[in-house]
């Protein structure tokens, strides 16, 4: 007869922990290296000690002087927050339509939304640029936001979790006299917090990290975003490693901080969301 073996003990799990620790190093080390390098003085930049032997803020000073990093961070934050909010808003509206009603062509429209996911950005890049130019919005933060008013990811994900929301609760609200608008905002939305939170995180991260569209649009550093700032330290004549890492650290820091603070909620909301 087999003896019971309690989960998570013994040699087996020690090996598992070892693997996980290695995995963690794999995931964290590059991030650590970025931060560590950003503090190395210029002449020690190719140094390979794990810990910078001499710490210096030169790279930060240089980076802050070379490009308007603070302004760029503010722009990035504004763009990310606004895009997140708007995309959630349009996503909620559209998802609600799909989840709530059957209407002619609904399947087709749904598929159409899903397919936009497959359209490579490069396809729409130039036409979008022309459109933005026609609107006179070049070199403006608004132009960074406009094409992101809606996304397939948000719509599909929200529609999926709305579909699994108990129909009876909606019907109860209908009986109580709520019209669709109220049902969406007073009944649906508060109950999709998990999905909305994790979706918001995904949208925020991907907007924060967006590169190609801002690259196409940016004309003056003051009106562009941090990823462009980072890219400005990478040139054909060689990368300016120190300032590049300093700028990268500054670009990652806010989002890293948010993550560290909200880490538990982030993971919880993913666990509870329909993202599976």
């Amino acid at each position: 007869m087999r003896k019971k073996t309690a989960a998570g003990t013994g040699l087996n799990s020690a090996a598992g922990h070892l693997v996980m620790v290695l995995m963690s190093i794999f995931c964290l080390f590059p991030v650590y290296w970025m931060v560590a390098t950003s503090f190395r003085p210029t002449n020690a930049i190719f140094e390979t000690s794990l810990w910078p032997t001499t710490m210096s803020l030169d790279n930060y000073v240089y980076a802050l002087n070379a490009i308007p990093i603070v302004q760029m961070l503010v722009n990035t934050l504004v763009v990310s927050v606004v895009v997140t909010v708007i995309q959630l808003f349009t996503g909620l509206l559209a998802a609600y339509a799909f989840a709530r009603w059957r209407f002619p062509l609904d399947k087709l429209v749904y598929t159409g939304v899903a397919l936009t996911w497959l359209v490579p950005f490069q396809v729409v890049m130039i036409p979008n640029y022309l459109l933005v130019a026609q609107m006179g919005l070049l070199d403006s933060v608004v132009a960074l936001i406009l094409p992101h008013f809606a996304s397939a990811l948000a719509i599909l994900l929200l529609a999926q979790s709305m579909r699994s929301f108990p129909k009876e609760v909606i019907e109860a609200a209908r009986m109580d006299g709520a019209r669709s608008w109220r049902i969406l905002w007073e009944i649906m939305t508060p109950n999709l917090r998990g999905t909305i939170a994790s979706l918001a995180i995904l949208i925020f991260i991907s907007t924060w990290n967006e590169y190609f569209w801002p690259l196409l649009l940016s004309r003056t550093p003051e009106n562009s975003v941090i990823q462009i700032g980072i890219q400005m330290f990478m040139t054909a004549e060689g990368n300016q490693w120190g300032p590049l890492m300093a700028a990268s650290t500054m670009a990652s820091l806010p989002i890293l901080l948010i993550y560290v603070i909200l880490q538990r909620q982030v993971i919880q909301s993913f666990m509870k969301s329909g993202i599976r």
Partner: protein
């Protein structure tokens, strides 16, 4: 309050409202998607049959299927196609297998450890691709990169991670995977945590060992999530690696790291020919659309609803 007064204040026929309201709710999203994605896409379909440099002053020259023919005749087309396959196959362990193992393994860990590991693994996800590319480039440098110093410390020759044609593609795959592991792990952990615990208990009662439970119960029940990630990997894997290829290798050395997506971008979008670019776009869209269709069918088939 009498019924008749209620009846009188009742809104007009519901059926009428029904027809408009979904469209009202959809309007902002659809408008956005049509303006910013579908209109350019449709235009691309048309332009893929023309030669044009996009300048208002130049004429649009109808060339029929020539743009398509040229793309298929590109010497690197088939290499890129094969590489795309390698990308997908190479990414699968990182975007699916390892996360699957981690999700299953960490599930049985004490909550504290579980959360710590999952939190750490998610970190690469929040690092910008450009930054990730720069940092990895640094770490992998044959001369002064940490990774190579480690390798030398173990007594091996340094590896030219980005310059050796045999290694470079795997390097790009590893970096792409590094960014993805956290996301996949989270998705699979969520799916795993949602497996009804009494199924696991039933299997334990049935005598299944830990491994048998994973093989017979967990994996089949995770199959729809796994397929979803496989689909994402196939459809978007090439896109995800784009930034790294662009920043780190430019498709080289010797075209070793190019993939269909990068190649078409390189020959299509980055040059001045709208026709080429559009034809490339159409090929990508249709090709991946077809794959998506098949995969969606598969996912439908392999989703099991437990109770």
């Amino acid at each position: 309050m009498t019924l008749s007064s209620r009846g009188a204040t009742a809104p007009a026929r519901r059926s009428g409202v029904w027809r408009v309201s979904p469209w009202l709710y959809l309007a902002p999203a659809i408008l956005t998607l049509v303006v910013w994605i579908y209109w350019p896409l449709v235009d691309a379909l048309r332009l893929s049959f023309y030669q044009w440099n996009m300048l208002p002053t130049s004429p649009q020259l109808f060339v029929g299927w020539e743009n398509y023919q040229r793309i298929f005749a590109l010497p690197k087309f088939w290499q890129a196609l094969r590489n795309t396959g390698i990308y997908v196959l190479g990414l699968l362990p990182l975007s699916v297998l390892i996360p699957l193992a981690i999700a299953i393994y960490t599930h049985d860990l004490p909550a504290r450890w579980r959360n710590i590991y999952r939190a750490i693994i998610f970190v690469p996800m929040i690092i910008a691709p450009v930054v990730a590319a720069a940092v990895w480039r640094w770490l992998l440098d044959p001369g002064y990169g940490m990774v190579n110093l480690m390798i030398e410390w173990f007594g091996f020759d340094p590896v030219k991670f980005l310059a050796d044609p045999k290694v470079a593609i795997w390097t790009i795959i590893a970096i792409t995977g590094w960014k993805l592991i956290g996301f996949s792990t989270l998705i699979l952990s969520a799916a795993n945590a949602n497996i009804n615990p009494s199924l696991i208990e039933a299997a334990r009662m049935d005598g299944a060992s830990k491994w048998e439970i994973i093989r017979d119960i967990r994996l089949p029940l995770l199959s729809s999530s796994v397929l979803f990630l496989v689909m994402m990997t196939i459809l978007l894997g090439a896109q995800w690696s784009f930034t790294y290829i662009n920043v780190l290798t430019g498709g080289g050395p010797l075209g070793a790291t190019t993939n269909i997506y990068y190649l078409l971008w390189d020959f299509g979008f980055s040059t001045m020919s709208v026709g080429w670019g559009s034809a490339s776009a159409v090929i990508l869209f249709l090709g991946f659309g077809a794959i998506a269709f098949v995969l969606f069918r598969l996912i439908d088939r392999y989703s099991f609803h437990d109770n």
